[in-house]
Symmetry: C2
Subunit: 410 residues, 2 copies
């Protein structure tokens, strides 16, 4: 089954809003055995929407749309579908009553313009939207399907999982695609290429290397008639990669460095505290993304200047003797925050920020220190001196090194 | 001049990589007088690429592509353009020598597969890429133009500014579109709608309200034959908005809350320090995004549990008496970090995190405190209890309230 996605909205087309819906839906299609062939963004323009749907029905079996289901005159997805199918929307009294009830539940009355959301064409059915006023549309015509979903991500995600997926499972009857993503850090793409060369160049399972901010990802993709068969194609490649690259692997699939650290700490009942300078809080902000981080993360200090580092427990003489961008200062930061906040592990990051130079140190030079119950680990890194790159790379490195150390210590 | 953008890459199509290039280019077209009509994502598939270019040349005057210019067999943008134009790429010896030189400069030799990047068709010219090995293509055929740019954003941005814009300026001769974005917080969309109602519903200048994580944005868009005329259309609307909504306006255009705070502090030679709990470091990480933040931002502390708050200077009796989620604790946090790090202003944020409840307080309830040389400001907020929403909303509110306070104090 060939699919395409059409994201609707002039704001997206003008670059004022980044479309995350298309990627979200795209990532969920392979496991359903649906092949995505096209993604388009179309503005709030009836003629262009209608053309996009007409063209889409010619070349695809199913079209997913997000956006353009609101009550204003700029919301034209319904009208576009109707025009492409040559039908006229009419107001459905049941739907009007349902909308009025939704507004009463919010202790307000329905603005007249919202009546538009109760429109339907003969070829379409409503898709219930529990999180908002805009119901979706499921339209079928001449064997082609158009699924219209609301634009706000929370509403779209809920409608997708509760309403759209169950309907898709009834009609899809093709191969499934399963992906396994193995995340590594510390070995170059070229070295990996050699060590696991025999798995490259195959079609199914397909193996690819992707360079990311948190290291090199190895992605195995298999297609088969069902999930079990697809997994059995992936298994031998995954085992071989694990055998040969074990020390470099830090996570799988959607796992992020902060989640990998969280799992390692929680399993052992250990805790962490951090002190950072040139990463500016990126590290602590990553660590608190997990809902249960309060169970293993005590807190993080961001110390910009020398006086603040000293106020937070770094000995003044260490900074005077070695400079604030030095391994010794990073060590003292890790130790100070570990003791100060009463954690098992402490991370210290000290480095030059994104600006040309600091303390005569080259831009992008950073020192990482991790201290724990069984000793410590040091690391000197140089990353491209862009603010966001320094923040992200150093934070990821710190987290992945910490995980290695915890796992190595048992 | 009608344009479309085609982002090339199976990884984007599969939702494994979010396409930021299309939005980046899209945002730059209106000021050049180029009207963007379509954005598509096409996978690494020769047939589909060729179809996309053929269709694109039928309906648009110019097509911008990003991605698919690398050296591997999956990089098929060049081949797709050649197929759509019915031409055959041939290796250009000059370009081969240039590539070999680029690799020698990196003290390595050119892998044979990179020779592909020296391919050209008769209808195309190379676009110099100073930041990478993949040169772009500028192809013209029957009055239609295809501009192929590399996918890595840093390379694409450089090629766009250095090479593509100058060529576009030579051929574009249409109206320009200018946008002015006025950012507010604290007044609802409905209230604004009333206060500035007479400006809505006009075509040129067009006024729209957009609800964002950092408040409501008022966007004025004007089209005219040149920039000066467009600005003269915007001016009276902008003045009226400023007259009527002044206390709610915190920034303009691309300005972010942390930049607005940075400007207010820097102009007055004042400094800031922060202590946060349920925003988990989002606040401090935002504040360090500006390259010059070290001039006014001393540091930020992220204190998760009560003991850590106490270790960082919050009096134990305040927490015992009022609870860790309370206005008094937020006040004590702001005061402790302001004194501890020696700053003029201190921000304290204390609240329940994204999880169901804490200390019996409803999820999403947060207290904000800002203390400064001339007194302090308190605020109680309740935001939807999703981790990322709590982080973003509370941080933005804290920054915008701080800016208000600084500006009010002169």
């Amino acid at each position: 089954m060939k699919a395409e996605i059409i994201s609707v909205g002039t704001e997206i087309l003008m670059g004022e809003l980044t479309d995350t819906n298309a990627a979200w839906v795209a990532a969920r299609l392979p496991a359903l055995g649906i092949q995505l062939r096209w993604v388009s963004i179309v503005g709030d323009n009836l003629e262009m929407l209608s053309e996009a749907f007409t063209k889409g029905l010619e070349r695809s079996d199913i079209i997913f749309t997000t956006g353009g289901l609101g009550p204003t005159q700029d919301d034209l997805t319904r009208e576009g579908v109707a025009a492409a199918l040559g039908e006229t929307p009419t107001v459905q009294e049941d739907a009007v009553r349902h909308l009025e009830q939704q507004f009463r539940d919010r202790v307000t009355s329905m603005p007249p313009r919202n009546i538009k959301q109760a429109n339907l064409i003969p070829s379409a059915q409503f898709i219930t939207n529990r999180s908002g006023t805009a119901p979706g549309w499921w339209a079928e015509s001449n064997g082609g399907i158009i699924v219209c979903m609301p634009g706000p991500p929370a509403e779209m995600h809920a409608i997708w999982e509760e309403e759209v997926v169950p309907r898709l499972l009834k009609i899809v009857d093709e191969e499934v695609t399963i992906t396994r993503n193995i995340k590594t850090m510390g070995m170059s793409e070229a070295e990996m290429d050699e060590i696991i060369s025999e798995f490259f160049g195959q079609e199914n399972p397909y193996l690819g290397i992707y360079s990311k901010a948190d290291g090199n990802h190895l992605r195995i993709i298999a297609r088969a008639k069902d999930e079990t068969t697809a997994r059995s194609l992936i298994y031998p490649v995954e085992r071989a990669i694990e055998d040969r690259l074990a020390p470099y692997i830090w996570g799988y699939d959607k796992e992020t460095p902060d989640q990998a650290v969280g799992i390692a700490l929680r399993e052992r009942g250990l805790t962490l505290a951090t002190m950072e300078s040139n990463t500016g809080g990126y590290l602590v902000n990553s660590l608190t993304d997990s809902l249960d981080s309060a169970n293993y993360f005590k807190g993080g200090l961001v110390a910009i200047g020398d006086e603040v580092k000293i106020a937070l427990g770094v000995p003044a003489e260490v900074i005077q003797q070695h400079g604030s961008v030095s391994q010794q200062t990073a060590d003292a930061m890790a130790e100070a925050v570990r003791k100060g906040l009463g954690a098992d592990y402490g991370i210290g990051i000290s480095g030059a920020d994104g600006s040309p130079s600091k303390d005569g140190q080259p831009a992008g030079l950073s020192y990482l220190s991790i201290t724990g119950p069984n000793g410590s680990r040091q690391m000197k890194l140089r990353v491209p001196p862009r603010r966001v790159t320094v923040k992200r790379r150093m934070s990821n490195n710190a987290l992945i090194e910490l995980r290695k150390l915890i796992v190595a210590e048992g």
